[in-house]
Symmetry: C2
Subunit: 355 residues, 2 copies
């Protein structure tokens, strides 16, 4: 056995800055740098500054693989969805992915389309033992079966766009009621009085809230709501088609249609066109969500912007925080993030034909 350590096999790769270099640069131990990066615990303000400066100067980015390996936090988190509209899904994914990259979490995707309750229960149990947390967009975040199974397994869950705040479930959402109310007020301020409403899928709280917002605004303005002008929809283009058809065949049709999401609003525009109506001259149409659909159709839709991508990102951060906390033995914390929505005015609204 000759002297062996003289060799020092060169296995280093590229240019990647490691935590050790940062540590040396800042004159502290790697562990301290780690603590700063995770804004975890007690580090003196002075030291933190020192480290942060080094981080900035070296342009250091933690290595995700190493981090998740060492942390063994089981940083796998699942995002489970069921047949959302494509437009919605793509935004959701972009946001979630960005969030996962930022936090070094490993994101796993799963689709649970057309599942029975029993199947959902099984799937939930299975997912529970392979990930450390779950993100649930609607309508899954309202499924008692899934929720109870997941919470029985003790893994944190964050709901996205769930509408209401549930006491035992963290959520990231917008204020659907207010948003809907504002949209309705906008329509009223343009001179509309016969405003029809196409409801969303009844299994989602947000649907109810959006209707409530519409109702509140109408009532506040002293406008009666003709029950025939409220149609049930299911958030799908198809359902929007049918609802609009019913609305426009009435003897005294509405001058404006407020659909609970963009897909249904797009369908409303399509039906209006088919019937020879001009949008917005003969009929105003507004949607909700501001998915890409809103700017795809012509005319572009006035809608409420729901920042889905940002919400997904927040959801991931929230989830990771919960996971860490839970590991620390803390009681589970639930929090409720309400993000800002924006009323986006485009070309699908005008004053009614003749007031």
């Amino acid at each position: 056995m000759p002297a062996k350590n003289a060799v020092r096999t060169e296995r280093r790769k590229g240019v990647a800055v490691t935590i050790h270099e940062v540590a040396r640069h800042a004159g502290v131990s790697p562990m301290t740098v780690s603590r700063v990066m995770n804004s975890n615990s007690n580090v003196r303000e002075e030291t933190r500054e020192l480290v942060m400066r080094a981080v900035r100067e070296l342009n250091y980015t933690p290595n995700a693989a190493a981090r998740s390996l060492a942390a063994a936090q089981g940083t796998r988190i699942a995002l489970i969805y069921t047949n959302p509209s494509a437009a919605y899904l793509s935004e959701l994914l972009v946001g979630a992915l960005a969030g996962a990259a930022r936090t070094a979490a490993q994101l796993v995707l799963d689709t649970w389309d057309h599942m029975s309750h029993a199947a959902e229960r099984v799937a939930a149990r299975k997912i529970a033992q392979s990930v450390a947390g779950v993100i649930l967009p609607p309508p899954l975040c309202e499924s008692k079966v899934v929720l109870s199974e997941l919470s029985a397994a003790g893994i944190p869950v964050v709901a996205i766009a769930s509408g209401r705040f549930q006491a035992d479930l963290s959520s990231v959402r917008i204020d659907d009621f207010r948003a809907s109310q504002e949209m309705t007020e906008h329509l009223i301020s343009m001179g509309h009085a016969r405003i029809a409403f196409i409801r969303g899928h009844p299994n989602q709280t947000a649907s109810t809230l959006r209707y409530d917002g519409y109702h509140a605004a109408m009532t506040a303005a002293g406008l009666a709501i003709d029950p025939a002008l409220v149609q049930q929809g299911y958030f799908t283009y198809r359902s929007g088609l049918e609802a609009t058809e019913k609305l426009l065949t009435r003897k005294s049709p509405p001058t404006a249609i407020f659909a609970s999401n963009d897909d249904m609003a797009a369908a409303a525009v399509s039906v209006a066109h088919r019937r020879g109506l001009d949008v917005p001259r003969d009929l105003s149409v507004v949607g909700f969500d501001d998915t890409p659909t809103a700017t795809t159709v012509w005319p572009e839709l006035t809608t409420v912007r729901q920042p889905i991508a940002a919400m997904a990102g927040s959801a991931i951060e929230l989830l990771l925080r919960s996971i860490r906390l839970r590991k620390d033995g803390e009681a589970r914390v639930v929090s409720d993030h309400v993000m800002a929505h924006v009323l986006i005015k485009r070309d699908s609204v005008a004053a009614p034909r003749k007031a």
Copy 2:
């Protein structure tokens, strides 16, 4: 086995089977298991069998994080896109994400909308030093500026759905020409002769190929192509609207419209409806790609299924292989993966009104 592991700070997490357990089970060293898993080099057939059995019995899955950490493959890869349709994007992302998870690559997303060539060059240079490989969907995969910058930096690139095979660029795609030809033949076999075509964006090779396929099928069937029945489109809903409008205002309108993608086909359906035409009774409409849009509109579109998600997954695997090879000092290899397409028949096609 008393002593030794009495202390053994309990840091172990879940149930994950490690390479060591497999090794012990098979009676070999972990290194040998690793070799088998990577189907790398010299392992006796007998030993390999032994290991594989153990792997199967224990249901072992390599830990992605550890693998990429140890391999130091610099597994960050970028997926860069510019304003694709939402439907397209969501499929792309789902596939890429799944692929990245499977291979332990870290996927980073980037949008390069509305960039000048100069800006693209800068962006390319920047991305080149932060990732080990890039995946490029159209139209970016046809941008000389980007391509040359990236190849100058020496990082592997894989193009998705690029249409043609470029000698210096690996790609994953379908046979656009054949697919388009088959679709056209389908229309012809239904009895259509006046078949209009809406072209895709001229900056994409796939557009040309799809047109060529249509042209070839028409010619082969002895059908003349009325130049007025070929309209330029840009893959957007809006452009489909305009193209269809022109098509249907002609004195002798087509009995079928073949749009180069689903978004434009959806637009065609919308215009037809607006003009009081029934689809498919008065006019057949077909699309291309089989994005969610195809099943959103009514009637659902006959289209060509392009397996975008699977293609994205393959692209990632291809890319990683290139990265590994390149690291081994191999000359760069380019390969061309042509995946299968499928003609999906739905409800937007019927025989023409009166032959």
